[in-house]
């Protein structure tokens, strides 16, 4: 069982020396970041710190200038976006990205990891297995009663949940969420924290968030980014008391 032990200790995501520059401006600068299995990591930082760019780099939306991103021992830089998703990386966008014209059921079904090729999709059958999975996930994201609702008619918070649910359908090993509680009410935030704590079982979660109360309620570890570099890393408490962090957030 030593192989398993070895695997458990190795970080699921290892980012080393990651740099991306846009016309000379380094949005992410020699970044090192390691995320362990089953860890919930929150990345915080002032506007323009490069948080979203890091997610873009991991999921292949932006190509790195240099550096490496190892996921489960596979190099993600240079892989196609859909191959990265198929390797087990799911990503939620900052503004809820759902299919307004489809029903909640169809939105979730679209992310079921079958029938992803042209002919696969053409002859895709809505099996009882698919229906069961959709219903299971819909219940998880508090939308169990709204399966037939057109997604465009959902409230903002429900759209955020729906997108998280679409990621859960893929059952990703690494779940990346960009501001999942932005625009949510207080009670919705509490529900989302509860949801994240439930769905982080058996997978790693990387979250970008500004809401400190929310961060406290979910984070195992917090990374502070500033000008494309890691400024501080550790528990929420240690980060909050870090003078450099206080300087960055309040100093200007």
């Amino acid at each position: 069982m030593s192989a398993v032990g070895f695997q458990m200790n190795k970080p699921v995501l290892a980012i080393e020396g990651l740099t991306v520059s846009f016309d000379g401006f380094k949005a992410v600068d020699s970044l090192n970041l390691y995320i362990d299995r089953n860890e919930v990591r929150v990345v915080i930082g002032p506007n323009g710190a490069g948080k979203t760019t890091v997610l873009d780099l991991i999921c292949g939306k932006t190509r790195a200038t240099s550096g490496s991103i190892q996921f489960d021992g596979r190099e993600l830089t240079g892989m196609r976006e859909y191959d990265i998703v198929r390797a087990g990386v799911g990503r939620k966008f900052q503004t809820p990205s759902i299919y307004d014209n489809l029903s909640v059921f169809e939105n979730l079904e679209m992310s079921f990891p079958k029938g992803r090729t042209v002919f696969g999709a053409l002859f895709f059958k809505r099996s009882p297995q698919v229906v069961a999975r959709v219903e299971e996930v819909a219940a998880d994201i508090f939308l169990g009663d709204l399966l037939q609702q057109q997604a465009g008619l959902l409230s903002h918070g429900q759209k955020q949940w729906l997108e998280i649910g679409m990621l859960l359908m893929q059952d990703p090993e690494l779940l990346m969420l960009d501001e999942p509680v932005a625009g949510m009410s207080v009670s919705e935030r509490a529900q989302t924290a509860d949801l994240l704590n439930r769905i982080s079982q058996g997978r790693s979660v990387l979250v970008i968030e500004h809401d400190m109360e929310f961060v406290k309620s979910i984070a195992h570890k917090v990374t502070v980014l500033h000008q494309g570099k890691v400024l501080a890393e550790g528990s929420m408490e240690s980060v909050q008391n870090n003078p450099k962090v206080i300087e960055v957030y309040l100093g200007h």
Partner: protein
């Protein structure tokens, strides 16, 4: 049975198909004389293009302003076969080189060009009618969509391709018949296609093929691929980051549209008896988009009505008021964009059904517009029941 029902779009879908089938297979042949029916047959060849545009533009969000290219290539493939058959050594013995098409002889060509040789075979021709345009669409699609060229840029490129092909055809007069096109098509495997009887049969073959394309379209839209196309139009990035190769779906639907257009083109050559670059270029390509827009770009059947009506209007007005036609066509397009973006099919959905319900004096439980989400929701539950 249930799968078939779902494919055809439930009761309303079946009624819609039946009404159109009755119109095309019964009403037109009974009411119209041979000349007018042949004209309807010609209009219906454009409907192939419009049906393809519903899939690729309406659902896929890919506005191709160069469908005439595929219509033309399909038509030229068929016309080349027919021309070779019409150019047997016996009927071309007065030429300096008998046995080659007349326009080649006029261009001092003394030997059949290599490009033309395989078109002696009917089997090859039938395959080429669909394969040549689809392969071209595949190449264009891969080159554009893999590089994520989309929206207006794609439309502009398709226009350029339409222009390039027109220039090529006109320039290579000895090979293509130039601006006159390929004319004087007489027989298909010895069968005279110019007689009224033959035209009637061709009309029906054309109509059957059109319904075949509509059914294929319905199958695609009812499948997960249809929902994916709509999802891509809503949020392309979300689809890409859900593990799909977005480009491959765009290429597929573009190729399907090209294939449909090509069948229309080939049937055009058969029914009208010639093919020329005037069906390839920018203007005819845009007209074809107008057919789909007027009929309703989200409705396969609407596209057929759009093609029939706009072309009927074109014939009627250009016979009566030749100067006015272009303005009318432009006005029609503006009206569609501004006042009824979903075309005639959209008007029918929002007004026609209500009106029909009123005159049949059946109390409708809910206003027609509101019934739509409920209908869209329906397939899930029946699908559940039918699973073994």
């Amino acid at each position: 049975m249930n799968a078939l029902n779902k494919l055809l779009g439930g009761r309303q879908g079946v009624i819609g198909l039946a009404v159109l089938a009755a119109l095309i297979f019964v009403v037109f042949p009974l009411l119209l004389d041979a000349f007018r029916l042949n004209m309807v047959g010609k209009y219906l060849t454009y409907a192939f293009v419009a049906v393809g545009l519903v899939l690729c533009w309406g659902y896929g969000g890919i506005l191709s302003l160069g469908q005439g290219v595929f219509f033309g290539l399909g038509g030229y493939c068929m016309a080349m076969f027919l021309k070779l058959e019409a150019s047997d050594p016996e009927s071309t013995k007065i030429q300096s080189t008998p046995g080659i098409p007349d326009f080649m002889d006029w261009n001092q060509i003394t030997e059949l060009p290599v490009l033309w040789v395989p078109f002696h075979s009917f089997t090859f021709t039938v395959i080429a009618v669909v394969a040549v345009p689809v392969i071209l669409a595949l190449v264009i699609g891969l080159a554009m969509f893999k590089r994520r060229v989309g929206d207006v840029y794609f439309s502009i490129v398709t226009q350029a391709i339409a222009l390039i092909l027109t220039v090529l055809i006109i320039g290579q007069q000895g090979l293509t018949g130039g601006v006159n096109g390929i004319t004087d098509l007489k027989t298909l495997l010895g069968w005279d296609i110019r007689s009224d009887g033959a035209k009637l049969i061709l009309y029906f073959i054309n109509a059957i093929l059109l319904f075949g394309c509509i059914i294929i379209g319905k199958f695609i839209l009812a499948s997960k691929l249809g929902r994916l196309l709509m999802a891509m139009r809503d949020k392309e990035e979300r689809v890409r980051f859900s593990g799909y190769d977005v480009a491959s779906f765009k290429v597929f639907v573009y190729c399907i549209a090209a294939g449909f257009s090509a069948i229309g083109g080939a049937m055009f050559a058969l029914q009208v008896g010639f093919m020329s670059p005037s069906f390839v270029g920018i203007v005819p390509s845009i007209e074809m988009v107008i057919f789909a827009a007027v009929g309703g770009r989200m409705s396969l059947l609407g596209a057929v009505y759009g093609s029939l009506l706009v072309n009927y209007g074109k014939t009627y007005f250009s016979e009566s008021f030749p100067e006015l036609w272009l303005y009318l066509m432009g006005g029609l397009f503006i009206a569609v964009v501004m006042y009824f973006p979903n075309g005639l099919a959209g008007l029918w959905e929002s007004h026609g059904r209500k009106w029909l319900a009123q005159i049949s004096k059946r109390p409708t439980p809910v206003a027609p517009v509101l019934t739509k989400p409920a209908e869209a929701a329906k397939p899930v539950a029946p699908a559940l029941e039918t699973q073994p």
